[in-house]
């Protein structure tokens, strides 16, 4: 072996040196030459090869021969199949040095065991040889620790699925963000409704009512909405108070009735109407709600008192109509909803005007009102100031 490659300062020539200990071990080599088995006594043996006495036979240098080495162990013959190449053929003697070729693991193990035992003076037993053969005498190749990567399609699939999952995650985060925004930055009205300046029309007297218009109809000022037949008794009562009447007088008064007409006080739209035909209704009952044609709807919202600090007049709000539609609006005025006069209440009422007028049909309907604590208009103001406008 030349170690020059490892340490260039030192040259260790070893070609002519014996690398392995040679032992004189009683053994025989059997080789088939020209079809006939020939027996050679072994001179010595090492891990690298062996030496034999050729006698009258001759072997060719460099040719690969098959043979079997036979050792005597415990009175039994033990054979090891070997391939060998004759290397040194003596000129003046019949010694022949041979080198092992392609020794298998089991053969190497057995030879090593025999040589080592022989050198250390131990007894060689058949059991030990069998034991040696049954053992694993060579370490296995180290398993590579590196894990196996995915193939192209598997990687692509993994990536696509990961991206899809990321999309889902982003949606979820958006939802969480929205929820947190709603909790921290949005004040929500407890209740709100669309209202307008409506004109209630109610019955002046007890009587039988017949309506003349339908809800949604357009009426002009003075146009009749309904007629009623009130018993004379009601009029008389009103004029002279509760007098003492005889039974006959009451019967007479009940028998007669006065017909009256309810007319519209304005150019209006009929918003709410109890349709009736000759139906008895008592005095003061509301028959219809009229809304002036030129009136606009506004919103009345009720907020929790603790949220008052987030509210101020002129603040813009978002109106949520049924069906998911939203509109912008602004708080026109704020007032505490006092249940009893001059006593502070627990709620704040806000009168809100929508930016675009609300349709009249929506009067009386519920509506959602939210107030963003951080106002976009305020942001606009900052942007304007920064840009120098």
């Amino acid at each position: 072996m030349n170690t020059a490659a490892i340490a260039p300062q030192f040259v260790h020539e070893s070609e002519a040196q014996r690398q392995f200990a040679r032992v004189r071990m009683p053994a025989t080599l059997f080789v088939k030459l020209d079809g006939a088995p020939v027996r050679f006594p072994l001179e010595d043996l090492s891990a690298g090869g062996f030496c034999i006495r050729l006698g009258n036979e001759s072997l060719r240098r460099g040719k690969v021969y098959n043979g079997r080495l036979v050792f005597k162990v415990d009175g039994m013959d033990m054979a090891v199949e070997v391939e060998f190449v004759p290397r040194n053929l003596g000129h003046d003697s019949d010694r022949c040095g041979c080198e092992f070729q392609n020794l298998g693991q089991r053969e190497v193990s057995v030879l090593r065991y025999l040589i080592t035992s022989f050198l250390s003076g131990e007894l060689v037993s058949a059991g030990d040889v069998l034991n040696t053969l049954s053992r694993e005498n060579f370490t296995k190749a180290r398993k590579s620790k590196s894990s196996q990567a995915l193939g192209f399609f598997a990687s692509a699939r993994a990536m696509v699925v990961s991206l899809v999952v990321m999309g889902i995650g982003l949606i979820a985060v958006t939802f969480i963000g929205y929820q947190l925004w709603q909790i921290y930055f949005v004040t929500k009205a407890e209740t709100a409704m669309v209202a307008s300046e409506d004109i209630p029309v109610s019955l002046p007297k007890d009587g039988k009512v017949t309506t003349l218009v339908k809800p949604g109809d357009q009426v002009e000022a003075g146009q009749p909405i309904a007629t009623f037949d009130a018993p004379m008794l009601a009029y008389v009562n009103e004029l002279v108070g509760n007098g003492n009447y005889t039974v006959e007088q009451i019967e007479e008064l009940l028998g007669q009735s006065v017909r009256g007409t309810l007319t519209s006080p304005c150019d209006c739209k009929v918003l709410n109407l109890l349709p009736a035909k000759d139906q008895y209704m008592s005095k003061g009952e509301q028959i219809a709600v009229l809304v002036p044609t030129d009136a606009s709807a506004h919103i009345i919202a009720r907020f929790n008192f603790t949220e008052g600090e987030n509210l101020q007049e002129g603040q813009s709000v978002t109106l949520h109509l049924a069906g998911g539609e939203t509109r912008a609006g602004a708080i026109e005025s704020l007032y505490v909803d006092a249940e009893t006069p001059n006593q502070p209440g627990t709620a704040i009422n806000a009168l809100i005007q929508a930016e675009e007028p609300m349709p009249l049909e929506s009067v009386g309907r519920p509506i959602g009102v939210t107030v963003d604590v951080i106002q976009l208009s305020a942001l606009d103001g900052i942007v304007d100031r920064v840009s120098g406008n």
Partner: protein
Amino acid sequence: MSMIPDNPFSRAGGWCLYLAALGSLAVALPREFIVPGGAHFILLIGGIGLWRYSVGITHFVRGMYFLHHAYPILRHKARKLGDEGAPSHVFLMVTSFRIDAATTAQVYKSIIREAIDCGWPTTVVASIVELSDEMLMRSLWRKLNPPERVQLNLVRIPGTGKRDGLAYGFRAISRAIPDDNAIVAVVDGDTVLDPGVVRKTAPYFKLMPRVGALTTNEFCEVKGSYLMSEWHKLRFAQRHINMCSMGLSRRVLTLTGRMSVFRASVVTRPEFISDVEYDSLKHWRLGQFRFLTGDDKSSWYSMMRLGYDTFYVPDASIHTVEHPPDPSFIRSARQLMFRWYGNNLRQNSRATKLGPGRLGWFTWYVLWDQRISMWTSILGLTAAIVAAIKYSGVILIAYLLWIGLTRLVLSAMLVATGHPVGPAYPLILYFNQIFGSLMKIYVFFRLDRQSWTRQKTSYSTDSASFQQRMNRWSSRIMTFSASSVFLATVMFIV
């Protein structure tokens, strides 16, 4: 925490402190409180809580039934077997690698003593890396001077990991050609056998021919702080109940690497040895990777696949010496949980694939439950926090009071295991639940990361590193998405 002395007074003081804390929480609650936002979320969370607690109670009831009823009957039968229950040969196999010498000596001594005391033909197989361990073993062997029927087999191996150590040891045993009645006890290098373990466990292999392996009760001595020590003890108490519960259906879920006894005919099967030596998992996203730790999971899986039952012997016990990996409690807990839960979850997906036919419905459900529990365990706290943000902090106080009370009950239940219960238990129980869930969620998406190998920090541009980079990013994406979907769901419900 190491300042805290552990005596009856400090324990009583600790319990008083705990109760006082619960009392102050109760006082802090208002007399009347209307739950805003409707009660539907309380119904839902209550329903989930009911389910979770019922799983726990099921385990407890099963465990207690096994411990006090089913097992004593089996023990009686096993004792009646007498000499018939004796194994033909006992192998005590120990693997050790660079464990503190005092511990190693303690372990070896207990093994040799056990070999001498069991009275059966025994071979001690020591799978050893270092020469120092070999010398220790030789000198102890000489000192204890075992009788003729006890043999020693030293297997020197390269230090390439415990799995290799086990495989070499198993092969060494297989060369002795043990018969069907031989048993192999696999002992870890930090485990001291309590006297009589072998005699207590061996007859069950005769009694139950389908049992391929069994494992024992475990107590520990912790070389660490008070908290660390209580934490480990709590774990072993919980483990005892779970093992008892699973032992009832002969499906003990772990063949603890610390000490398990196997049938020799199983251990010498080449399939089994190769399962333990080289175990890997193919993951749809992370590719194929080797199992580095968790040899006990591999042996369990192999056992299940080969069609054996596994059993638990609650009155045979071992003592382990625990060396926490880090002086800080949190860091230690994190590292250990990372390893335990990683092993557990790596095992879980393929174990569930064995199906209820092989595992039985209860075991199959329990395996599924391990995957669900990491989310349900933090559901309560998450919901309480979200409700506190949305409505009122009172909800959080009420929730903490509820947790404090229930953990008190759970701790009281652990007394039934015979493991000592300290005042820190309720806190540790809850810490384990929350921190454990977070760790599980983290690990679940990083199954390729195994604690004792540090991932390479420098990346080159070949395909393997592309895989690593992709794994890293996709793991992050998965964790992010899963937790945000979880949070969004909770916010939606509450």
